[in-house]
Chain length 339, copies 4
Amino acid sequence: MNFLSDTTAPAHPKLVEAIAAANTGFEPSYGNDPISARVEARLREIFECDLKVLFAVSGTASNALALSVLCPSDGAILCHDEAHIHRDERGAPEFYTGGAKLIPLGGAHGKIGLSELDRALAEIPEGFVHTSPVRVLSLSNLSESGTAYSVAEVRERSERLKQRPAFVHMDGARFANALVSLGCTPAELTWKAGVDALCFGATKNGALGAEAVVLFGPVMDRFEALQARQKRGGHMAPKMRFMAAQFEAWLEGDLWLDLARAANARATDLATGLSSIPGVEILHPVDGNEIFARIPESVAASMRAAGAGFYQWPDGSARLVTSWCTEPGEIQALIAAVG
Amino acid sequence: MNFLSDTTAPAHPKLVEAIAAANTGFEPSYGNDPISARVEARLREIFECDLKVLFAVSGTASNALALSVLCPSDGAILCHDEAHIHRDERGAPEFYTGGAKLIPLGGAHGKIGLSELDRALAEIPEGFVHTSPVRVLSLSNLSESGTAYSVAEVRERSERLKQRPAFVHMDGARFANALVSLGCTPAELTWKAGVDALCFGATKNGALGAEAVVLFGPVMDRFEALQARQKRGGHMAPKMRFMAAQFEAWLEGDLWLDLARAANARATDLATGLSSIPGVEILHPVDGNEIFARIPESVAASMRAAGAGFYQWPDGSARLVTSWCTEPGEIQALIAAVG
Amino acid sequence: MNFLSDTTAPAHPKLVEAIAAANTGFEPSYGNDPISARVEARLREIFECDLKVLFAVSGTASNALALSVLCPSDGAILCHDEAHIHRDERGAPEFYTGGAKLIPLGGAHGKIGLSELDRALAEIPEGFVHTSPVRVLSLSNLSESGTAYSVAEVRERSERLKQRPAFVHMDGARFANALVSLGCTPAELTWKAGVDALCFGATKNGALGAEAVVLFGPVMDRFEALQARQKRGGHMAPKMRFMAAQFEAWLEGDLWLDLARAANARATDLATGLSSIPGVEILHPVDGNEIFARIPESVAASMRAAGAGFYQWPDGSARLVTSWCTEPGEIQALIAAVG
Amino acid sequence: MNFLSDTTAPAHPKLVEAIAAANTGFEPSYGNDPISARVEARLREIFECDLKVLFAVSGTASNALALSVLCPSDGAILCHDEAHIHRDERGAPEFYTGGAKLIPLGGAHGKIGLSELDRALAEIPEGFVHTSPVRVLSLSNLSESGTAYSVAEVRERSERLKQRPAFVHMDGARFANALVSLGCTPAELTWKAGVDALCFGATKNGALGAEAVVLFGPVMDRFEALQARQKRGGHMAPKMRFMAAQFEAWLEGDLWLDLARAANARATDLATGLSSIPGVEILHPVDGNEIFARIPESVAASMRAAGAGFYQWPDGSARLVTSWCTEPGEIQALIAAVG
């Protein structure tokens, strides 16, 4: 029973099979292979629009690469105070942008509050040489608290930026989990709601290691610059076909959505079970595959004794993450053990 | 008959099998998995010394990561004028070092000339605030001309640096090819000859995508800084076990050496064959799996007609690269077709 | 009656005379002149300790240079949310450090609150590769709200860092104003209270353009690195003697303290006068030469009609800055006009 | 008799007087003062075109600032192997551009050779993601060997770039010396010959510390970005009027040209005198105020005994620099002493 992180889970077997299947003969390197092209075509169908895509080996890389073409080095990026790009990437966005400024904002349940956003925008002028102007709003969906921004919540935040030469970035390391939770289409949750660039994560949802940066409409003309940064950052893998093959299998037959639904369902069950235990407090809506809970020490000890691994968060709460391969029986067993 | 690049070749099946075998259950992420630990232990045996290692997805990444902990942002890196780090990485070393200066040096057959090295060292003072001091000497082995620095050649260059607070970096994207060609041990070609950090490439020699940065003796204490940069550069893959598994299988039973021997043997045969064709001039010693040749246009046309792909180099010559899976029959057929 | 900023004021005549006096014959360039050496010696007397110093043309430069040798590119700098280094330097600290992360903290009256500092330190772990570790605490004295950290306030904040490999930076653009307000010695307010590097500003207090970075005890060995960055940042002025000459005249006979006392006295008088006007609210203690006040629009209009220039702050309040050359009569006239 | 460098010379008294004259009352800061505006207007007359200008405290700063808006971080800058930006600025161009690549080219007498330029352009492709594309050609006029590119030489080099999205930068630390030597107009030597940005140096020719970045035609729209970088680099001096005042006095009545003529005349006389001494070899045409000579040790010793200071260059030759205030009598005395 491992609830430490979805990054500790194995990959779905179909993706490993796809890698083996892709391992035949010579293919053009650096992303010029036919599988990469097929994945881009498939993403156009899924997102119902023209788009550009490239792959990277980690979510930190895809976020930093995307931000590097959205924000100049002397600009600012608004994000939630608990955003992965601010707290958990060792300054990768600052590195890739050449020193852009991240401005952390508050907001309940890991989502940037509208009033906090408005205050920041009011305080940061345009055209004032002394101050880094806002060039990017970054939204994590799922957020770092496991909650999902609805389509309307994305839109009302992205619209706040429309008076400025600024873009909206979505950290979608758990985009699939948010999507199936919200029940909307990929298009609705991204470009139709004002998102310019999506970091579309597969690794936490069944891949071995495959993330995609997807550029929509207004920023598609930055794709060449994005490729240059992919190269310069060391992320243009020579045998890219093996990363593309993972995406192809993951998208095939909506496997990606099925895997996310499974992980989310386990989280819902786990949250329900935990909330029935005296003293346990679920801290945020469980919109995806993450649960944050305040758990009495005796309960936590029982859970650990039952074999469950999970992290203690900096604020003292517990984070439990389900994955595509968490079994319903594991949830039942855990709740039974501590109930 | 594909001689374009060893990056267009498939991976060796044993590495794909190793990935599948590693895909069982939950494992710690970010390099803390047991396979990564086993690879490090195995490398200590192979290099006959203590060392530190981490993985990256491309040779550009491993070079840039290594250089970023060897050279401060206001230092200089000496390399051959045709070095991959100078010509083919879109400025990745400048990016990762925070703007260090690459100083290109001449030298026959892709190897830094001793006189050119001495002149550069004489011209670049220590302790002069206006000038970027030499902090790294970077040697590519194989070189970009397909030649190998012998142990003695590495040593006499690295010794030139020993009066300075400087380090020696080896770009070993084709290290295995150099090693089997020279017939020396890994230790002899690296730390025993003064190399502080080796970028040890597997991708061009049978891996799907796996490169290692290896730190020896004096720079092992920079490993924590290296990890920080690996994270910051987006190269700390969440499910690192799959990269480690490739290395484990590749090193197992000296597969890596066998694959390099095969590629080198094909190159030797191809060079022998080509040199017998009137008008063809082999430009550099063929020490590994690369051949650079001046080829009359009619011959080149015949080769292409026979199905052989290869690159035209900026200087007008042809580059032909053999790989671990190039068949002896392919070489014979090609020579027969144009002979 | 100009209360816009002390940067709009002229220089004290004695500093211009010193420049003219320094303009004789040939002198070593780049800071190797005898005047620079004399200033360093004088600063050792003033600060009662060994130290290293170099000059820069702006406070932004001196802050960024100092931070660049205190904080690695993958580290974090704690500062007040309204700190000049965070709000008003267009990302210069991020630029000079190679992308370090600034973490803004709250606190009343422009001073970092102890609870906010403690919370940040609790949340940011040491030795966790994913998170930028705290390497610098930056205190502005005067703060951006015109208040002064007392010696005790500096010390209790700097002590919070002593468990970590971290340093304390003081942005002293208005250090003289804080010093004379507090009535302590330069040593007490800096290294004796845990400050490792002081950006010592003269420009706002009578100089034409002269700022100093002063390194104390534990960071003095970073002086060579600081010089390299001064050069690399383009701040090693060829004819440095003219910047040094300003400092020499400014320090001579405690002119710097007299000028700060004059500016502070004018601010005290102005604050007293303003606070007697119905509807005017002084927002922060006036510890130096800056007043932040909420002023009814009718009063503000009268002040402007009387010829007084001042800025409206982002929060809607008014900032009024006195300078070394503000005349007592100007204060009286302004209060009389609006009283 | 100081021939070490024109940076060790004092400033012309008229510039000091101008600083004193500018020190009256309050003025807008950060370059928004009326003197700055007047200098820009005057430069439009001198260069016979519209242009944008800003000031910096050193030639290293003005070069790096200019290059930072001409070259993206993943681009390349072609320069002479001995260029100041490559050899003597501690990597400032790499720093300010965010890691652009400097590619050093050969050429006689410090001037980039046409064949070397053509070879580099032939070797560096456009649109190849692996290679940093050429975005800037940098010409130093005077060159680092004291020679001047003629208008035709500038033009034939700049025209080589016109097929690419690239710009021409001129390092004009000694632009005045080149100009009076060539006898052409400022417009002819810059924008009419294809120069997009000029770093126009006054410090070595009579100023206390004043350099200007001048943007012409096609790159004028990068002025806002240039200002942002000026701020970010710490070069937006608060009391900019004092830098502007130097330029105003320097340009007034063609003082700048008179000073350059004086320095050049002294250099010509010195070169003539030296060349009459047995064993002395003048290595490069003396087009400005610098002489490079191979001087027998006995002669050099006599020169030093006569009180003459000069530098030994890395190649063993001697560099002698005259300045605006070198006296004809000093030249005569020196030649007499060693003749």
